[in-house]
């Protein structure tokens, strides 16, 4: 019988963390910013079908970087958790905090179980409240910890650099157009100080807009609407766009608009 080599626990964990971090760093970044009417998610993603940003529940959305199959798995788990909660209790009882906790448990278990390889993902869970002070943004790194973020946050490839850039320039009360432009600026700066250009086609943009009359506040910004916001037209709110079918997606009580 052969004796396995001794590896110290510190070394084992450091190796796993290193492995996960490398996987995450290979992907493109996602940034999440608060603006006056909600939270905007901007990802560099040329694919129209494979999303990095998705809706979880009425006021909660999810963004992820890393391996697609791993975070898609977590996303579906999150949707199931939220829908089951909302059905069992009430739609108001589904919170970003609860969801972030579930994700943290899952990621933590996978990270420390010896049998599995750690997930190479980093997640963001955000929820819009009634006002900007009630917005919540949680960042969940690969090891199952939770970081409570405010204002702006970046995950993925150049996360540190982008976060530093955003921290300097992000302020409270930005309009959607301003926040979006700042997000795109931060994504276009690459490692060695140079700049690339990103067009609307290479971006995946979504908002949690608290002014939406529907109960479900998540909305993707696509095509012309996105180009228009990127070009200027400051102050334009996603809720003002005419191409949006009015009427609640869910529940007759959603038809009134509480914040207008």
């Amino acid at each position: 019988m052969s004796t396995p080599f001794y590896v110290s626990p510190q070394q084992a964990m450091a190796d796993r963390a290193e492995y996960a971090r490398k996987g995450i760093a290979r992907g493109r970044s996602v940034v999440v910013l608060q603006y006056t009417d909600g939270v905007v998610f901007v990802a560099e993603n040329p694919s129209r079908a494979l999303h990095k940003v998705s809706e979880i529940y009425d006021r909660i959305a999810f963004a992820a970087v890393g391996k697609y199959n791993e975070f898609e798995n977590l996303r579906i788990g999150g949707v199931r958790y939220a829908d089951l909660r909302g059905y069992t209790y009430d739609r108001d009882d589904v919170t970003a905090r609860g969801l972030a906790n579930v994700y943290a448990q899952t990621l933590g278990n996978i990270f420390s179980s010896a049998g599995e390889k750690p997930y190479e993902v980093e997640l963001i869970v955000a929820e819009v409240g009634a006002g900007p002070e009630n917005d919540q943004i949680y960042r969940l790194p690969h090891d199952g910890s939770i970081v409570d973020e405010h204002g702006s946050v970046a995950v993925g490839g150049n996360a540190d650099q982008i976060s530093a850039y955003l921290d300097q320039r992000h302020r409270d009360g930005m309009t959607l157009s301003e926040a979006l432009k700042l997000a795109v600026e931060s994504l276009t700066r690459d490692n060695n100080g140079g700049e690339r250009t990103l067009t609307a086609e290479q971006l995946e943009v979504a908002v949690l807009d608290r002014t939406r009359p529907q109960q479900r506040k998540f909305k993707r910004l696509l095509g012309r609407q996105l180009s228009r916001l990127l070009e200027g037209a400051s102050g334009a709110s996603a809720a003002d766009e005419p191409d949006e079918p009015e009427g609640p997606a869910e529940g007759a009580e959603g038809s009134e608009s509480p914040e207008e």
Binding site: A49, H51, S54, E55, I56, I76, V79, R80, D83, L84, G86, Y87, T88, R216, P245, E246, G247, P248, A249, E250, G251, A252, S255
Partner: protein, 258 residues
Amino acid sequence: MDFLGSHAPQLLPGNRALPPMQGAVEIPHGTTIVAASFPGGVVLAGDRRATMGNVIAQRDIEKVFPADEYSAVGIAGTAGLAVEMVKLFQLELEHFEKVEGVQLSLEGKANRLSTMIRSNLGMAMQGLAVVPLFAGWDVDRQKGRIFSYDVTGGRSEEHGFAATGSGSVFARGSLKKLFRPDLTESQTTTLVVQALYDAADDDSATGGPDLARRIYPIVTVITDEGFRKLTEAECSEVVRAIHDRRLEEPDGPRAALL
């Protein structure tokens, strides 16, 4: 829903143990739902009464709900079970949309509702039936469609108009005489309220418009712009117009003899 079924089956309406029957059960029942299509969409409407035997259990119950952005469901039958079934149906459509990234087809939604009604068959045999009417805008075919059901989940597509519930016999007669395929949206809303008026006229379990309490039928319109519920003001306008005419002609508009 599959996940709910495997994870928490006790939450599904069909998976409940049935208590032994002790005499007749007296529980609120919803009554009449009508639907009619017009060239740009479909209208689904319901009266506001729930009855418990000979007692009016509730005079302002809502029996028409949005299922998702492009469809709505109106329910007749045992109110408690029906409301829960609708809640589960709404949840399932939303869940599918979020997980898959696309909406179910209208046909798919109609089939799913059929399965849910069938799962309630045991209770239906004990007198707790739920019989909905499902209407929606078919995004692929670009038209409004109506589906009716029986207690066993049997699904049939209705062309033009449909009615379900205790007052449906009278409502259908009214719809049959007044319906034309070329009506506008506002004419169709008037049509369905006329039908509900006639149902309430002859069926004691169906509530007519209550002008004194300002309780009007729930009228919803689904077009390519999505689901819309008529506001109380809009409903009151339609109802008052009909009511004023009926003061002169209590039986409503006359169809031609030949």
